[in-house]
């Protein structure tokens, strides 16, 4: 599903060259549940952004679903993101002026899906995530857990093959965090590839496959 071949990413900060990722080789199969752990600055978010096509590698090759996506132009990248990748962020990133239902609808609107089908899909998602009675609430009227549920519903609205979650429980209390994680884990049972970035070993330990990163390199892998 995801195949990284000697992928590096370096930034220029001031007059210094900072290497965030160093020759990463990584294979992730479809339906895998992978957690990426490591201290801050170890490059785990950069790796996630690269996989999500929000960023480009400085060198190396990235293949997604068998196709080389390293050198796609902006429009092609956007199309891949729209069709194959879903994001869940630590700070939810809901559009504040839109209702929960409209936030969930957003990827469908951007993809140009007809309005009748959109309504059906949004209804189903609201139902699935227990948000039906919150459909017309704006994000500032929702609790943290509800916000993240809206964000997950939005991320899955286009039925992506890969779900990328960057510290999805970072802004939530323990109980709500566990609830959110179990929602994400349910998705892996539907054959969605889930990649979870966290610095919480307890959370990361739940994944079938765990990657540990230090200084831009994967130092160890454990499988359970």
């Amino acid at each position: 599903m995801i195949r990284l071949d000697k992928v590096s990413r370096s930034f220029t900060v001031g007059d210094q060259q900072v290497t965030a990722l160093r020759d990463i080789d990584l294979n992730i199969a479809a339906g895998d549940y992978v957690s990426i752990m490591g201290p801050s600055g170890s490059g785990k978010s950069t790796l996630l952004n690269l996989i999500g096509l929000l960023d480009r590698p400085s060198s190396g090759i990235y293949k997604l679903d068998g196709g080389n996506v390293t050198d796609l132009d902006d429009a092609q990248q956007a199309k891949v993101r729209s069709e194959k990748i879903g994001f869940v962020f630590q700070s939810f990133h809901l559009v504040p002026r839109l209702t929960a239902a409209m936030n969930i609808e957003l990827p469908l609107i951007l993809a140009g899906i007809p309005v009748t089908e959109r309504k059906v899909r949004v209804e189903a998602l609201l139902e699935n995530y227990g948000l039906t009675d919150r459909a017309d609430h704006r994000p500032d009227q929702l609790s943290g857990g509800q916000r993240q549920r809206v964000a997950i519903a939005r991320a899955t609205s286009m039925h992506p093959a890969v779900l990328l979650a960057d510290e999805p429980t970072g802004n939530l209390d323990q109980a709500t965090g566990r609830e959110v994680i179990s929602l994400l884990e349910q998705l892996t049972e539907q054959h969605v590839t889930l990649i979870l970035v966290t610095h919480d070993p307890a959370l990361g330990g739940r994944a079938k496959r765990q990657l540990h990163m230090v200084d831009g390199q994967i130092v160890s892998q454990t499988a359970s």
């Binding site: 999500g52 956007a78 199309k79 729209s82 069709e83 962020f89 990827p107 609107i109 007809p114």
Partner: protein, 400 residues
Amino acid sequence: MKLIDVVQFAAASLGGSRARTLLMILAMSIGVASVLILTALGEGARLYVVNQFSSLGTNLVLVFPGRTETAGFGPGMLLGQIPRELSLDDAEALLKSRAVKRIAPLTLGSSQISRDALNREVIVLGSTSDLLEVRHMSLALGQFLPAGQTGESVCVLGAKIRRELFGNESAVGAWVRLGDRRFRVIGVMAGQGESMGFNTDEIVIVPVAAAHMLFNTTGLFRILIEAKSRDAIEQAKKDAETILFARHNNERDVTVVTQDAVLATFDRILRALTLAVGGIAAISLSVAGILIMNVMLIAVSQRVQEIGLLKALGAPAAQIRKLFFTEAILLSSVGSAVGLIIGEAGVLVIAKIYPSLPVATPWWAVLAAIGISLVTGVSFSVWPARRAARLDPVTALASR
């Protein structure tokens, strides 16, 4: 992304910051309204002058004694003299031209008019019976001057003169005294009011020969020629010049102008004025455009996270640009619609206050105002839209 969704999304984000949106619409609409009102005023002034001219008569050619030198300095100017005056025979001779339909000689002077104990100063116009037709005047009572060049002592009173001298009594048939002569009133002019600074309500019209006797002159102040048709105007002018050239010992000492030429000059001047005033108003429109740019830039920096999110959700750069463009187009079209309403309302108010001014927004001003507001709105949002589209999604999402 479907067009309707683009518009809805843009409208929703405009609705998200209501005060800002309203202010921008206000700025745009004031610009559009000022273009409309100012050009309407300019056009009104132009139409007013045009109407005034055509109320003087149609297909008119005017003959003045003396020649206006546009270049150089003639000795006559120093002495303020006219080489040769226009005579009644000159006027009669003009009828020989086949392009001329009728003529009306005019002589002018001022005199005391009195009836019993009432008297006042009055402008006396000496002319012939054709004046009524040539000059598009109308009679309220009685009849106009008798045909031919008579020296009969009859007169036609202006409406206001009649009112002042006779009040509610009947004027026709009564006698009035003009200078040292007695004239019988044979008619009263209909009230016309002012036209081109010449109030026909306050004049007395007498036969041209009688006026010559009254003022002891032989010259004419002016000859009005009515050409047979619009196409004959130029021919009538040429004929008048040739005839008078021959009669005045081959000297060009008269000035012949067509009413059209005078009108065209006024028309040009006033149209230029309208354009200038409209142009100034258009500047305020482009200021509104800069305001839109400013606010769009603020909107981009306030919505950096949202732009990053849209990119992460699969919106390509082109789509982000389109969204911001649509916002600008919505703003400027709503602004120009509101401006149209304000502008037309303003024109209506002006028309109520000055009923004599034919104010109406010219169609080209409406098109220009809407066009300029759309073009400024869109062109001033190019930069903000590009800036939004170029944002790097990773940094955009990470920003606060």
